[in-house]
């Protein structure tokens, strides 16, 4: 799992089942998954410790732990559906995506795995785009595709589908908010099938998961995370594409925006992005010139969460009470907690893990946490 030599390993199926069990268990998100595996050395050992940790964190009732049976059933169903469940260091897992702090520990992948390893540009925008916006998205996607980039987007109506369609030949990747068998919107099922030949589809959700509204912002981090940069083609004020742009900036991805008339409400969001520092984009060269220097840096560069020491001692009740006292609904950073609690980072991280597994902790970006 050394992020600096990505995509060279191949997991044994038994280890893959353990990872699947862990990430499908209650209160385990990608960050918790990573902390647990760092602390306990493997998914298997983390699974063994889950009930105890959650109890110590004060869980009202124990969270559900995904059974081996359920995990094997999902694994088999995924295989039948042509979905590979890949770890961040395996071939087919987009290398840039693997560098995220909250990279999915197992990513459901369909399509041409080699294409998923190539440099990607995300193109996103309004669902109710203008004719000009659709035309521009198509031209840009085709030109970037011709220049060797894979186009990644969200399969939505409007700009997304225009970008996918224009890059079918060169390779395009759809990021799903639900399971691979629950395509949204349903009328894009044929488009997705066409994309699989030279491109792919990815999802962190299990088969059968019907996408809900809250799944889309979560999904959006994968669109930007897989890409070198995100181009926002048309976006009104407060539209979903602006959330993607904000996440992209937080992830250190380049943000590009296509300008429009101040009198066109569909350009209000993109014009704002440019005011805030996004690169004004009128042609593919604007994107290519900005990402070329980045491509020379290895994709693994920048995975930032510190690895924990092995958990060879346990916090006592005093540590736990002191740390819980310091937490509240306002997000606070790990460093501040360590300093204020007057204890070791390992102990603070362990207590946070316990609370998280008990469903009492929320993790925010930038290493901030708050009580729920």
């Amino acid at each position: 799992m050394d992020k600096r030599t990505p995509n060279t390993t191949h997991l044994a199926d038994v280890e893959r089942i353990d990872r699947l069990r862990l990430i499908r268990s209650d209160n385990v998100g990608p960050r918790t998954f990573r902390s647990l595996v760092n602390h306990f050395g493997s998914a298997k050992r983390a699974l063994e410790r889950l009930p105890d940790l959650a109890r110590r964190g004060g869980a009202a009732r124990p969270g559900r732990i995904c059974s081996e049976e359920d995990a094997r059933a999902e694994f088999a169903a995924s295989k039948r559906h042509g979905v590979s469940l890949l770890a961040p260091d395996e071939v087919g897992y987009p290398p840039r995506l693997a560098t995220l702090d909250d990279a999915p520990p197992l990513l459901g992948v369909r399509g041409a795995l080699d294409v998923l390893m190539r440099p990607m540009i995300a193109i996103v925008g309004s669902r109710n785009a203008s004719g000009a916006g659709l035309k521009f998205a198509s031209t840009l996607a085709r030109d970037l595709s011709d220049a060797g980039f894979v186009i990644v987007s969200g399969l939505a109506r409007g700009i997304d589908q225009a970008a996918h369609r224009a890059s079918l030949a060169g390779g395009t990747v759809g990021v799903l908010a639900g399971g691979h068998d629950k395509i949204y919107p349903p009328e894009h099922e044929d488009l997705l099938e066409a994309m699989l030949e030279n491109g792919g589809a990815i999802s962190e959700m299990p088969l059968g998961h019907v996408p809900r509204a809250r799944d889309f912002p979560r999904r959006n981090r994968l669109i930007s995370g897989a890409a070198l940069g995100v181009v926002v083609v048309e976006a009104a004020h407060r539209s979903g594409s602006l959330i993607t742009a904000r996440i992209a900036a937080e992830q250190g991805r380049e943000v590009f925006a296509v300008p429009g008339s101040p009198l066109d409400p569909r350009a209000a969001g993109t014009n704002d992005l440019i005011k805030q520092g996004a690169t004004l984009t009128t042609e593919a060269a604007d994107v290519i010139n900005a990402v070329e220097p980045i491509m020379e840096r290895p994709a693994g560069f920048g995975a930032s969460e510190p690895d924990g020491e092995p958990l060879d001692f346990e916090p006592d009740a005093g540590d736990r009470a002191r740390i819980i006292d310091l937490l509240g609904p306002s997000p606070i950073g790990l460093d501040d907690l360590v300093r204020m609690a007057g204890t070791s980072p390992t102990i603070v991280r362990t207590v946070l893990l316990e609370l998280e597994l008990a469903g009492r902790l929320e993790r925010h970006g930038g290493g901030l946490v708050s009580l729920i």
Copy 2:
């Protein structure tokens, strides 16, 4: 003529006539005018020395020196036409304009002199503007006008006239490429008359001068120079408004540009300007926020050409030959000339003056000169 306490003096008519004679004489532009007055202490003494300097510069035939009679005639005709011929330190001469290296030594001014002393924003753009562009220019001009800024522009068809019309009540200034009696385009004569009530018109050209194509770029430096910043509303590639924007940047003025769709050729120039660093502008606040910090700095700050010492010795033939040898059709800087000629800056400046008055020297921006 101390630029740091501008607009407080009033010229005697006899001095005004001398200045008018000097600036209307052959081969004397604003920069040469300034060098001559700096060297000789007054326009009167410079006029006396002109023939000798031009002869030493190698003039094939002596340039015409404006006679006192002609100057008095222009002065009287200007007065009858309501045009004041003002020096850079007099009331009615826009203070920012007075800070330029090539500020007109006498500016023909009509209208409300107090309005010309207020902070100005230039709004320029395509003559064949779109409906959206015209509407945006009007809204922006009105909003900036309401915020207390005088709107300055070039009286052209399209964006210029829309900006003038929308700011008639608050004050708007037209900068002419020809004389005050040769309005271009003629259909805007009524507009100009309406502008004079709360605003004004300025020109550095004599009455009767019909504007030619080459006068417009020269005029454009006065539009940007009088303003804190220039807003380009719509501009195709290689349009005149982009020249104004380039000059504005060279003058240290803020450059603002209004974005548009990449598919709209009338936005190609403004989008390019934003790529090059112009401030993306969708509303008056974008302009106001950027110029407010500048307004607190005195207008006189930044006049950059060094004052020459009095010319109390003359270059010998060896100096002159050496300096002419160093000059060619490629522009070269004064500092480089001084270093390469191994002589004093005063001698180099004097030889350049001689060459200029002989019609053999061209001055470029940034203190660069070349032989014609």
